[in-house]
């Protein structure tokens, strides 16, 4: 048993840390968020140059041979700086789906573009009626000669405004919530019949509502076996949950540090407010919530390759932990910062918002508790 990181992993973490410290302070991030596009393609190019976009891919696919631990280390640092660029969407989700389900030809066609930072991807899985159920799909793909025709509506597709390619989940057979009959398709965002409505998100990113109207794709757009995509989607979204968990720990640690620092310097009633026992205990509770989240983040990153039921329990349990801890740490960081914590100017509220969105993404605490209990 060994919880230490390899030399390469430590180097990777230090490199991300030093890059973001130099290039991604809170004011820079604010400018990026407020810019017309809402992200920085220049940063994305830098991520590619630094090898971050290659890190989790196996060597045979042109990657650096890392995996979940590398993703975890990167995402934890991204959490500390509230990075908005679509690493989860492009590398973890689309990259994971291509790795798991792609044919050699598809992998060869698309993974190099991801690694080089040339193409941004988004995963259009959610639908308005679906409520976290990845199989609840009204969007259809009907056989059309050699290819397919897609029709439907995908909700809250994160990163889609920046993406050139979408991976769309659609039903090729079966009833609306059947586990069988779910398929994945690679769709050019510029394809005829694809329309998007772009908007900013609560946590300073961008997303789209995506409408698919008689979108024709070729046979080579089908990713994985027809109708057999659900297990792949579940596996890869669990990988994304692990990535979000690491990001959440970065957010929480920054909030805890800022809160302790603030309580040491903010004076009321003639003393630093950190001297009040009730606030000390609160900050200790925040610390414990963070440590438990780090442990779960490690655990899930180590267990992503295990059997489906083990992996589901690991991911669901982790999502519950970071959901609850994120709420507590976010709420209390604002509380202990008082009025200042309520301002848009301070970074505290922005971490809190990100943690709230992480809780929602792929299903909140209540949803993941159900999922855990069904897998156990």
């Amino acid at each position: 048993m060994d919880f230490s990181f390899s030399e390469e992993q430590t180097l990777l973490r230090n490199m991300v840390q030093s890059f973001l410290s130099d290039k991604y302070d809170f004011e820079t991030r604010r400018k990026i968020v407020k810019s017309a596009d809402g992200w920085s393609p220049a940063n994305w190019g830098q991520f590619a140059e630094l090898g971050l976009l290659a890190a989790p891919f196996p060597e045979e696919l042109g990657g650096l041979g890392g995996g979940a631990i590398e993703t975890m280390l990167i995402m934890e640092q991204f959490g500390r700086h509230l990075v908005v660029e679509p690493f989860v969407e492009t590398v973890v989700l689309a990259g994971g789906l291509l790795r798991e389900a792609g044919s050699p030809a598809q992998q060869e066609a698309h993974i190099p573009g991801i690694i080089a930072g040339e193409t941004v991807w988004a995963f259009a899985y959610a639908e308005p009626q679906g409520r976290y159920n990845l199989a609840d799909l009204v969007t259809t793909a009907k056989k059309d000669g050699e290819g397919y025709v897609l029709n439907g509506y995908k909700a809250v597709v994160l990163g889609a405004p920046w993406a050139g390619k979408l991976i769309v989940s659609a039903r090729t057979s079966g009833g609306q919530r059947d586990k069988d009959g779910v398929s994945l398709f690679i769709v050019d965002k510029s394809a005829a019949g694809v329309s998007t409505r772009d908007y900013p998100t609560t946590d300073g990113r961008r997303a789209s509502e995506v409408t698919l109207e008689n979108v024709k794709v070729g046979a080579d757009a089908l990713l994985g076996g027809e109708g057999k995509a659900l297990p792949v989607i579940e596996k890869v979204t669990d990988e994304a949950i692990a990535a979000l968990a690491a990001e959440a720990t970065g957010c929480m640690d920054e909030l805890n540090k800022a809160t302790v620092e603030y309580c040491k310097t903010r004076k009321q009633f003639g003393q630093p407010i950190g001297k009040f026992q009730v606030l000390q205990h609160r900050m200790v509770d925040m610390f414990m919530a963070y440590e438990q989240s780090v442990s779960m983040s490690y655990m899930v990153s180590l267990k992503l390759g295990e059997s489906d039921s083990e992996r589901v329990k690991a991911a669901a349990g982790t999502k519950v932990q970071i959901g609850k801890a994120g709420r507590f740490v976010g709420q209390q960081a604002v509380q202990l910062h008082g009025g200042m914590g309520m301002t848009d100017e301070l970074n505290v509220g922005h971490y809190f918002k990100r943690l709230t969105m992480i809780d929602t993404q792929f299903g909140n605490v209540d949803h993941q508790l159900k999922r855990y209990s069904e897998a156990a």
Binding site: R131, V156, Q335, D366
Partner: protein, 402 residues
Amino acid sequence: MDLSFSQEDEAFRTDVRKFIEESYTPELRARHARSKHGYIDKAGHVQWQKALASRGWLAPNWPKEYGGPGFTASQKYIFDVEMGRAGVPHTIPFGPTMVAPVIMKFGTPEQKKRFLPDILNTNVLWCQGYSEPGSGSDLASLQTKAERKDDHYLVNGSKIWTSVAQWADWIFCLVRTSKEGKPQEGISFLLIDMKTPGIKVEPLVLLDGTPAPHQEVNQVFFTDVKVPLENLVGEENKGWTCAKYLLEFERGNPYSAGLYRALNKVRAHAAETKTGDSTLDKDPDFRARAADLESQITAMEYTELRIFSALSTGGNVGPESSLLKCRGTELQQAISQLAVEALGDYVFPFVEDGMIETNEPPVGPGYAMTVAPYYFSLRKASIYAGSNEVQRNIMAKAVLGL
């Protein structure tokens, strides 16, 4: 002990409902529903408050001699419940609920005549100058300075978290008039015309994200602001007595009716939210969460009944107001969290200023725009008006004698 209401009370209830039906117009409701922090716009609030004033209902707690409605305890309760149930705009409290009781108790006859009627008729809007950048929970450490000159005070300093200062005609301020003695001993209570030269109002954007001109709070700067001596309320250096008196009114509000409404709104939204082949309002976990909150609100409601029924009109609540403030605000926050959880993925879309109406259809359900911002906004409730930690200190000291 008796829970039923008399025939007269029920007739009063009908009257209140009719008033709400007529005055809380569909247009006003629609604008109110777009707010991410609870305030509409100035015109909306003035319209609503003038409607209340026309019935003599703007200040239900005022004694009759000052133009209060002279409600019985039952009528006061019914009034609050019906207003809460309907989710009407809140009356901007700084005039009628805060400065007015102070003027009634400590003001001169001239001050009463000059200020109270305009408050009662919403001819003049007030804001509150208490907190400062360095003085939050420890209010007595405030630094805004008022130097006594011949016929005026010269005020310098700044106040922060000043709600709707951009609309206000007047501000009541705690200022330091002496550095002698304990911090509480050198404070005075001043009324300042917002049009006085030297006052600058700067908007602050909070977590709901609403920018100027629809921001909720501001920082107010005072540079060599001349305030006539006659605008002092009570004695110089005795303003702390006024300040404390006011805080009991600030905190002594009934919460339960508004909480029931907020919870029922979440339930209604859940009924529109699909999950599997059913809707979220039928989900056993959601129902248990809502039931838990509802029983906590009921505990709140009966606590309020016990406290308010013991009061005569015009009285205030005392240290028990801290209990109401803690539990009331914590339940507001818990309900807003359930609303976020019920909404699901449509917490993501962000609309910067909800008060700006557009022809674009909403992204997701129509109510979605305000759900996450309101959750973030309501974090203020356990901070403002004396943080909930301070409220617990008050209860420990004043109620439990620790």
